[in-house]
Amino acid sequence: MLNNTWNNIIEWFRDRSERAKLIRSFNESAKTSFVSGIAPTLLKASISKGESTYKHQFSNWLYSGFRIQAFTGRILKKEELIHIGNVILQNDTLVRKLIVLGWDTLEVHGDAGTYGCRWQLKDYIPLPKN
């Protein structure tokens, strides 16, 4: 019992670190691409509240949204936001990683207000039974 609790604590900290690492890697790549001119818009990943109805067995209790926001540069059209979402959703490895790290919602937002799109991650990968 104690061993189990101890493992859970260690796993919680490991997940936190993996989440931070994933967001940092995404932001670094986005920054490099923007600076070198590959991407016309600077994207930034962050953790958001998420949608409570999208929960699955790996979901975090709070803050289960993975948000990508378009910052400086050209303002993106809705089709472009959807395309960014599709690129992420069609990358099975990334979707699996997002799910096991506790995210259940993918959000792609424009710079201003709440303009953007939202997807339920569990629709894109078969999960082990509860």
Binding site: S29, A30, A39, T41, E80, V87, I88, R96, L101, P128
Partner: protein
């Protein structure tokens, strides 16, 4: 004589029973042993069930975390894959090779791969090179 002996024996037995009931040692001990055994069995059953579920989840989690992600490719694909996909789907369409059967088969294979990887620019570039070599195309 006999009566006094029987009376004394009964008195002694009564005193012993009264003491034992007062202490309640024998009844409590057995009850507690049974309770502990029951709890141990319940704990082992729950632990076993939780372990089998956790193993499957844990395997899925470890497999997912072990793989690396190419974020540069994701960002690049987010902005540049559509243009390349549109170009490739026109140039590599199997209908463009109606006479040459061999090229038609190769184009069909490449076209299917292009459709499957339309949001993966790294793979699309590889397919473009393959099309240039095998289908003699100029981009």
């Amino acid at each position: 004589m006999n009566d006094t002996l029987i009376n004394d024996s009964i008195k002694i037995i009564n005193t012993i029973i009264a003491r034992k009931v007062e202490k309640g040692e024998s009844i409590n001990w057995w009850m507690w042993i049974a309770v502990v055994q029951f709890l141990i069995i319940i704990y082992l059953i729950i632990k076993d069930r939780l372990n089998s579920k956790n193993t499957e989840k844990l395997r899925f989690k470890n497999e997912s975390l072990a793989k690396d992600i190419d974020f540069d490719n994701i960002i690049n694909s987010s902005f540049n894959s559509t243009k390349l996909y549109d170009e490739l789907k026109v140039k590599c369409h199997p209908d463009r090779f109606p006479i040459d059967d061999e090229k038609n088969i190769i184009a069909d294979k490449i076209f299917q791969e292009i459709t499957k990887n339309k949001t993966n620019i790294k793979r699309l570039i590889e397919l473009k090179e393959e099309a240039q070599k095998k289908l003699d195309l100029n981009f």
